[in-house]
C-alpha cells in the first residue's frame, strides 16, 4: 500500500516538475528577464548575508582577491587582461552590494550588453565561480553565505554564457 502511494507521489512530482517547466517556457517574462539582464535584483532577505561578507569594506577586499585569482587563472585571464580592472572591481562591489541589500546603487552597464561579444563558455564561467569561491574562502565568508550569493548570480548565466 505504502509502495503504491509512494509511486503516485513520485509520478505527481514528476508531472509537477514537467508542468512547471512548461509554464516557464510558455510564458515569457519580459520585465523580469530585462531586469535580470541588467543585474540581479535586490533581495532584502539577504541583508544578514551582507553582514557575513563584512559589509561594503568586505566586498572591496573580496574583489581585490577575486581579481588577483582571475588574472592568475589561465582560463579567465584572457577576458580581463585588456580591461579596466579597477573599474570592473568597483562595479562588482556595487552589484554584489545591491544583491545583498546593502546601501549601494548599481550604475554599471547592462549585463547582457557587457557579455554579448565575449564568447564566454561554461568552462570559463565555472572557472570564474571557482576563483570567486577561493576569494570568499580567503576572506572567511561562511560557505552557506557564499552559496546564497551564488544562487543570486547563477540565474544570470544565460546572458553571460554566450558560447
Amino acid at each position: 500500500m505504502f509502495k503504491y502511494s509512494l509511486h503516485a507521489a513520485v509520478m505527481a512530482m514528476a508531472m509537477l516538475f514537467t508542468q512547471a517547466a512548461m509554464a516557464q517556457n510558455a510564458v515569457p517574462m519580459p520585465e523580469q528577464s530585462a531586469a535580470m539582464a541588467a543585474s540581479a535584483p535586490r533581495d532584502p532577505a539577504l541583508r544578514p548575508v551582507f553582514d557575513q561578507f563584512s559589509g561594503k569594506p568586505g566586498l572591496v577586499t573580496l574583489m581585490d582577491d577575486f581579481m588577483v585569482n582571475l588574472m592568475a587563472d589561465a582560463r579567465t585571464r584572457p577576458y580581463f587582461a585588456d580591461t579596466d580592472r579597477e573599474h570592473i572591481k568597483l562595479e562588482l562591489v556595487d552589484q554584489f552590494c545591491v544583491i545583498l541589500d546593502g546601501p549601494c546603487t548599481y550604475t554599471g552597464k547592462d549585463m547582457e550588453r557587457v557579455h554579448r561579444n565575449l564568447g564566454i563558455n561554461r568552462a570559463a564561467f565555472n572557472a570564474l565561480v571557482e576563483d570567486l569561491q577561493k576569494a570568499m574562502d580567503k576572506n572567511k565568508v561562511p560557505f552557506r553565505a557564499q552559496n546564497k550569493l551564488l544562487a543570486k548570480l547563477a540565474p544570470m548565466h544565460p546572458v553571460v554564457i554566450t558560447k
Binding site: 514528476a14 517547466a21 516557464q24 561554461r122
Partner: protein, 304 residues
C-alpha cells in the same frame, strides 16, 4: 575466517591509502597546473556526483541526473572507481569507469563481485562462492541544469539504462530467477538548492533485478517490470565535503528469500576534482538467508 577479516581490513586500508596518495598527487598537480589552461574538468566540485553501485554517476546507491566527469558542454570527462562493501556475512568488490561526453551523454562500465563467504558453504555452493556481474550503463541528459537554474524549480532531468549480465546462470535458475541478464530503465531528476546548500535527487527505476541483479532477474513470484523509487539528499558542508542519505526501493520477485529496501548515510570528500572518497554506512537488510546486512561502503573515484 580470521584470515578473511584481515584480508578485508588490508583491502580497506589499501583503498584509503591509495585515495590519499592519489589526492596528494592531484593536489600537487593542481598547484603546479593552475596556470595552464586545462582542456577539460571544468564543472564545479562535487556537482558531478560520485560513482554509484552500478557505475553511473550519482550517490552511492542511486543514479543522479548529472553527467559523470567534470566535463562541460564543450568537454569530455572521465572517471574510474573502486568500491568495497563490507557486510556481516558478505562482501562486495567492484570497479568501473565512465566517460561523460559534452555534459550530455554518460557511458559507464562496472563489474561487481559479490562474495558469499561462509553463506556459500552453508548453501552448498562452496565457501567464498562469488557472483560476478557486468553492467553497461548509458545516461542522457534531457533537460535542465541542476546547478545553474537557481531561479526556477526545474531540475536537471536524465534518462538512463543499465544492462546487467550475471555469470552464475545455473545458480540463478536454481533460486528461481527467470534470467541471468536484464536491463533497468530509469529517469532521474536532480536539483541543487544552492541557497540551502542542499542537493536533492529522485529516481524512478523500472527493473526486474533481484538484489540489483546479483540474484538474477525476474522470479517465481513476479517476472514483470516494476517502478521502484530511489532518493538522495546531500548537504554541502563546503566545496570539498558533503554528507547525505539515500533510499532505494527494491522489488521482491523471489519466493526463496525476501528482499529489503536499501538505505545509507554517507560522507563524501573531494579534495580536488581528480579524486573523491565516499564512506557510507549502508543497511542492505535481508540478503538470502542472512538478515540485517549492515556495514561499511567505501569508494574511491579518480577523474580527469
Amino acid at each position: 575466517m580470521q584470515r578473511h577479516r584481515n584480508g578485508r581490513t588490508a583491502w580497506l586500508i589499501g583503498l584509503v591509502l591509495s585515495g590519499c596518495l592519489i589526492s596528494s598527487m592531484a593536489m600537487a598537480g593542481d598547484a603546479a597546473g593552475s596556470d595552464s589552461a586545462p582542456a577539460f574538468s571544468n564543472k564545479l566540485l562535487l556537482t558531478g556526483g560520485v560513482s554509484q553501485v552500478e557505475g553511473s554517476a550519482g550517490g552511492g546507491l542511486t543514479p543522479w541526473a548529472v553527467i559523470g566527469g567534470y566535463g562541460t558542454s564543450d568537454e569530455i570527462g572521465a572517471n574510474a572507481f573502486i568500491t568495497h562493501i563490507n557486510l556481516p556475512d558478505y562482501h562486495v568488490n567492484e570497479a568501473g569507469a565512465m566517460v561523460g561526453l559534452y555534459n550530455r551523454v554518460e557511458v559507464s562500465f562496472a563489474q561487481q563481485r559479490f562474495d558469499t563467504e561462509q553463506v556459500g558453504a552453508a548453501l552448498g555452493l562452496g565457501r567464498g562462492f562469488t557472483f560476478k556481474q557486468n553492467i553497461i550503463g548509458v545516461k542522457v541528459r534531457l533537460a535542465g541544469d541542476a546547478v545553474l537554474d537557481q531561479d526556477s524549480w526545474m531540475p536537471q532531468i536524465s534518462i538512463g539504462v543499465q544492462h546487467k549480465k550475471n555469470n552464475q546462470a545455473a545458480v540463478l535458475a536454481f533460486v528461481g530467477a527467470k534470467s541471468d541478464q536484464g536491463t533497468d530503465y530509469y529517469v532521474s531528476a536532480t536539483k541543487l538548492f544552492l541557497s540551502q546548500s542542499l542537493l536533492v535527487n529522485a529516481t524512478v527505476r523500472f527493473t526486474k533485478a533481484n538484489q540489483i541483479g546479483i540474484l538474477g532477474f525476474g522470479g517465481d513470484k513476479n517476472n514483470s517490470y516494476k517502478p521502484e523509487f530511489e532518493g538522495s539528499v546531500a548537504y554541502l558542508l563546503s566545496r570539498n565535503w558533503a554528507v547525505g542519505a539515500e533510499y532505494r526501493q527494491k522489488p521482491n520477485n523471489l519466493g526463496i528469500a525476501k528482499e529489503d529496501d536499501w538505505y545509507d548515510a554517507f560522507v563524501a570528500w573531494a579534495p580536488t576534482k581528480h579524486v573523491s572518497l565516499t564512506l557510507a554506512y549502508a543497511d542492505l537488510g535481508n540478503i538470502v538467508i542472512k538478515d540485517h546486512q549492515r556495514g561499511l561502503y567505501a569508494s574511491v573515484q579518480v577523474g580527469f
